[in-house]
Symmetry: C2
Subunit: 543 residues, 2 copies
C-alpha cells in the first residue's frame, strides 16, 4: 500500500534529486520531503559551470537555478544543506546524517529514500596528484576556485579531452590562457569515432590549444613557480593550473555500505522504476545503471537529461506504484561545442559496436546545413550506423559548424522510435531555405544506407582503404589545387568519354570533395561494367 503522506528523504538535491522532489510535491501536498545536501547548494546548473569560468555566463547567480529558500517557498521542501548522509539503516528505514558545520549527528526516518548523489571526478593515485593547483570541476565551489586560480594563471593544462575537458579548453582560451590539452586516447571525445572528431581537433589547434594525443599523465612534480606534469612518454609540461577531467566515478559509498546491489563498475542496479535491490530505496542519475533500449544491454550514462527524468520516474512510482510509466532506458545523446565546431553522438558508436561484437553497417555523408543557395550554409557530416539484418538505426554522430544539434535530435528521436534506414529516406523535415534542404543530410544518409543495402553503393570509408586505381572526379581546377595523393583526375563530366583510360581488370575507387559526386561516378562506372567503389565523405573528410 502506498502512503499518501510519506516521508521521503532525497540524498543530493541536483538534477535527479531536485526533479524527484518537485514531482513528489505535485503528487502530494502532505508528503514530508527532505533534501539532504552535503554542500551549500541545491539544484545548480552543473552543465553551465565551464561557461561561468569563461565568462559567457557572467552572473554566478544564474547558475543557482534554485536556492534552499526558493525550494522551501515553491515546493515546501525541507532542504537541509551542509548535511551529509553517512549511513543507511535499511531495517529501521533511517538515514544517519552528520551536520558538516558542527559535526553533530542525528537519525532521520524515511518511508522512501531516493539516492541522487551523482558521480565525482576521477582522481588517479599519481605522484603529486594532491597539489592544490590540480583542480576538478563538479560544483559551484570548484567553479569559484578554478575561476580565481585561472585569473592568475598563464599556462593551463587540461587533462582529458572528453566533454568537460573540451568545454574547459575552449573557455580558458576565451580567457586568454595558453592551454594544453592532453588525452591518452588517439583522439579527443573518445565516445565518438575518430574521423568524426577531427574537425574538433582542428578547431582546437586553430585557436591555439596545444593538443597532445595518445599520451597520459604519469605524475606531477610541484615547483614553487609552476607545476610540472610528466606524461607517459616522458614529456614534461609546465603549467600554473591543471584541470583534471578524465572521467567520473559513481558516489556509491552509502549504497555499498548498505548492501545494495551494484553493477560491474560500481553503479547502483535499479529496475525500470529506479528501485534498487531494496524496494524502499530508489537511485537516480549518474550513480545508477540504466539500460540501453537499442540493444538491451546495461549501461551507465552520466548525463543531465536522463537524471532529471529518472528522478521524475522514481517520484511517480512512490505515489502511483505499477501505474507509473517505467523509465525506458538511455541512449546517451550528447553534444559539445568547441569554438565554431560542434560534434555529438546518439546511440552506439562504431567502436562500441565492434567491441560488443554486434554486426553493423555504416556510412558517412556530407551535406549543407540548409539550402546551399541561401547564405550561411555549412557542411554537416553525419555518420550513420545500422543493423544489416533489419535496417534498424543503431547510432549516429554529427559534426560541423551549424545544425549539428538538430540532426542529433532527429536521430535520437529515430532511435527512440526504432526507425530504419528506409524511414530515414522519407523523414519529412521542415524545409525553407534558411532552415533546411528539400533533401536533408538525414535523408541523404538514408539514401546512402539503402543504396549500400541494394548494391548501388560499394563504399570504402577512407582513402587509406582504397586500392591502387583511384579516380578524383572533381573539376580539374579544384583537383589541381588540392590534389589527392595517388589519384588520377577525371572530372565527372568527362568520365563517360574517358573510360578507356581506366583498367577494367582492377577495381576503381572514386573520390570527390563531399562524397556525392564520387557516388555518381561509381554508378556510371558500375553501369559500364567496372567494379567501382566510392570513397565516403570525400576529400573533405580525409583530414
Amino acid at each position: 500500500m502506498k502512503h499518501s503522506s510519506p516521508t521521503i528523504i532525497i540524498i543530493g538535491g541536483v538534477a535527479g534529486g531536485a526533479s524527484a522532489a518537485a514531482r513528489a510535491r505535485r503528487h502530494s501536498e502532505s508528503a514530508h520531503i527532505i533534501v539532504l545536501e552535503r554542500g551549500p547548494d541545491v539544484s545548480f546548473a552543473n552543465c553551465g559551470l565551464p561557461y561561468h569560468i569563461g565568462g559567457e555566463i557572467s552572473d554566478r547567480a544564474e547558475l543557482a537555478v534554485q536556492t534552499p529558500q526558493s525550494l522551501r517557498a515553491l515546493l515546501k521542501l525541507d532542504v537541509r544543506t551542509f548535511t551529509e548522509a553517512v549511513a543507511i539503516d535499511r531495517m529501521q528505514k533511517t538515514v544517519r546524517v552528520r551536520h558538516v558545520e558542527n559535526g553533530t549527528e542525528e537519525t532521520i526516518a524515511y518511508d522512501q529514500l531516493i539516492l541522487s548523489p551523482g558521480a565525482r571526478p576521477l582522481i588517479p593515485p599519481l605522484p603529486g596528484i594532491h597539489d592544490s593547483r590540480i583542480m576538478t570541476l563538479r560544483n559551484l565551489q570548484d567553479t569559484d576556485r578554478i575561476k580565481a586560480a585561472a585569473a592568475d594563471a598563464k599556462n593551463v593544462l587540461v587533462i582529458g579531452g572528453g566533454f568537460i575537458g573540451l568545454e574547459m579548453a575552449e573557455q580558458l582560451v576565451h580567457l586568454g590562457k595558453s592551454v594544453t590539452l592532453v588525452e591518452r586516447n588517439p583522439q579527443v571525445l573518445p565516445q565518438l569515432d575518430q574521423a568524426m572528431v577531427r574537425p574538433l581537433e582542428i578547431a582546437l589547434q586553430k585557436h591555439g590549444v596545444h593538443l597532445i594525443l595518445e599520451d597520459g599523465i604519469a605524475g606531477f612534480e610541484p615547483h614553487e613557480s609552476s607545476l610540472k606534469a610528466i606524461l607517459h612518454s616522458g614529456r614534461c609540461l609546465e603549467s600554473d593550473l591543471v584541470i583534471l577531467s578524465i572521467g567520473v566515478v559513481p558516489e556509491n559509498g552509502l549504497a555499498k555500505d548498505a548492501g545494495l546491489e551494484l553493477g560491474p563498475r560500481g553503479h547502483i542496479v535499479v529496475n525500470a522504476w529506479q528501485q534498487t535491490s531494496d524496494p524502499n530505496i530508489y537511485a537516480v542519475g549518474d550513480v545508477c545503471e540504466t539500460y540501453d533500449p537499442i540493444l538491451g544491454t546495461r549501461v551507465a550514462i552520466a548525463l543531465g537529461g536522463p537524471a532529471n527524468r529518472q528522478g521524475r520516474t522514481a517520484a511517480d512510482h512512490i505515489f502511483r506504484g505499477a501505474q507509473a510509466q517505467p523509465y525506458p532506458g538511455s541512449i546517451g545523446t550528447a553534444i559539445v561545442r568547441v569554438f565554431e565546431v560542434s560534434a555529438g553522438i546518439t546511440g552506439w558508436s562504431e567502436k562500441g559496436l565492434k567491441q560488443a561484437a554486434i554486426p553493423y553497417q555504416t556510412v558517412t555523408v556530407n551535406a549543407a546545413s540548409h539550402a546551399s543557395y541561401y547564405p550561411g550554409a555549412e557542411t554537416v557530416t553525419l555518420k550513420l550506423l545500422w543493423d544489416p539484418q533489419d535496417g534498424r538505426v543503431l547510432g549516429a554522430q554529427a559534426v560541423g559548424k551549424d545544425g549539428i544539434d538538430k540532426r542529433l535530435d532527429v536521430m535520437a528521436t529515430a532511435l527512440r522510435g526504432r526507425l530504419t534506414i528506409d524511414d530515414l529516406v522519407h523523414l519529412e523535415l521542415a524545409y525553407a531555405p534558411p532552415f533546411g534542404s528539400a533533401k536533408d543530410v538525414v535523408n541523404i544518409a538514408g539514401f546512402a544506407a539503402t543504396n549500400i543495402r541494394e548494391g548501388y553503393l560499394f563504399p570504402v570509408a577512407t582513402l587509406a582503404e582504397a586500392g591502387a586505381q583511384i579516380v578524383d572526379v572533381r573539376p580539374s581546377t579544384v583537383s589541381s589545387k588540392q590534389p589527392v595523393a595517388g589519384a588520377k583526375n577525371i572530372p565527372l563530366t568527362e568520365l563517360r568519354d574517358r573510360l578507356a583510360e581506366l583498367d577494367r581488370s582492377q577495381p576503381v575507387y572514386t573520390i570527390c570533395q563531399m562524397g556525392k559526386t564520387s557516388y555518381y561516378a561509381a554508378r556510371i562506372l558500375a553501369n559500364h561494367g567496372f567494379q567501382a567503389h566510392s570513397i565516403l565523405g570525400g576529400a573533405h573528410h580525409q583530414l
Copy 2:
C-alpha cells in the same frame, strides 16, 4: 518485364522531375531520359525565389541549381527546354510536344512517362485581375518580373498570407516597400491554428506591414498611376504592385485529357510507387495526391521535400518494380520565417482534426530554446495534438525566435515513428547549454500531455475559456505591471498560506507567465481539495 534501356520521358524538370531523372540515370547508363520543359529553366531553386527578390540571395545564378547543359554533362539527360507537352497518347505510348519558339510539333515515344508539371498559382476570375501589375511567383521569369516591378513600386499589396505571401511580405519590407498583406481568413498561415500564428502577425505589424485579416479581394480597378484593389468589405487599397499568392492548382490538363484518374480537387491519383491509373505513367510532386500516414486519408501536399522523394520512388519502380520501396505518404511538415519569428507545423492541426471529426487532445507549452541560464535563450511555444485513445501523436506546431525548425523536425520524426506522448517524455535530445535543456520543450509537452491523461492537469486553452475565479500566481511585481483582467494576484510562494481567500465551491483558474507556475499552483490547489484548472501558455500566449 522491366526494360534495361527504356526511354523515359519526364514532363517538368524541377524538384520531382529532376530527382526522377537523376535517380533513373543511377539505375542505368543506357536509358534514354528525356526531360521536357516548357520554359528555359530546369531544376531551379523554387523555394529560394522570394529571397532573390529581397536581395538575401544576391546572385540569380545561385537559383539555377542545374542548367540544361550541366544536366547533359552530369547525367547524360536529353533536356529539351522551350518544349511543351501538349498531349499524351496512352495507347501508342507517345507524347505530342510543341516547340514553343517556332510552334512546330513532334511526337516522341516513351516506355515510361513521369508527370512532374507542378501546380500553378491560383488566379481567381475577378474584375481587373489581368492587370499587368498583378503578379504571381512560380519561376525565375516571374522572379525577374517582380524584382523589376518592385524596384519602381512604393506600395505593394500582397494577397494571401500563406507561406509564399509571408515570405514575400518580409522580403518586400527588406526592400523598403510599404507593404499591405490581405488574408481572407481571420489569421495568417491558415494551415496552423490561430493562437500559434499570433507571434507572426505581431512581427509583421512591428516591421510595418499593414495587416488586413478576414477580408478577401473582390476585384481591381486599374488607374494609370496606381492599381486600386477592392476588398469584400468595400475597403479600397491603392498600390503599385500586387503579389497574388492565394494558393495553387495542380497542372492536371495533360493528365485529364489523357483520361488519368483524378482526385476530388483535380490531383492525379497515384499508388504507393507513384503510378497513375495507367501503369506506364507516373506522377510526382504538386500535381498528384498522396496519402497521410497518420490517419490514412488521401491528401494533396505541395512541398519540395515530398516531390523530390516521390521522383526518386518513381525512378526506383521503373527499374526495380515491386522491389522498390513504396512512398510512405506525406505528413506536411512546413516552416516559414517572418522577420525574427519562425513558425511551422507537422502532421494535423487542431482545426483539421475538428473538421475531420477525429477525436484528439491538445496542449500548448512554452519553454526556453536552450538552457535559460545561457545567453540568447528564446521562448519556444509548442502545441501538441494526440489521440486520446492510445496517446499517439497526431500533429505539432511551433512558433518562436530560435530552435523552431529543430522542434518541428523532432516532431516530424516522432510522427514517422508513430511515437506516443509517453515517448515524448523520454526523448533524449542533445543537451549542452548552448543547444538545449535537460528538459527540452518537447519533453515538457510530453509531461503536460501525460499529466492531462493521468488527471494531474486540467487545462483550459485560453483566458477566455476560464470561469470567474481566476488567480494570477506570478510575483506581485510582474502582475502589477501587466495585470490579467479579472484575476486576483496570489503569488505561488504565498498560495499555501492564502487558500482561505478562495471560494472552494467554485473552480479556480490559475494563470502565470508561461503556463508552468500555473500548473504548479493548480496542483497545490487540487491537492488541497479545490477544482483547479491551469490556463495553458500563460499570459505570454494571451496576445
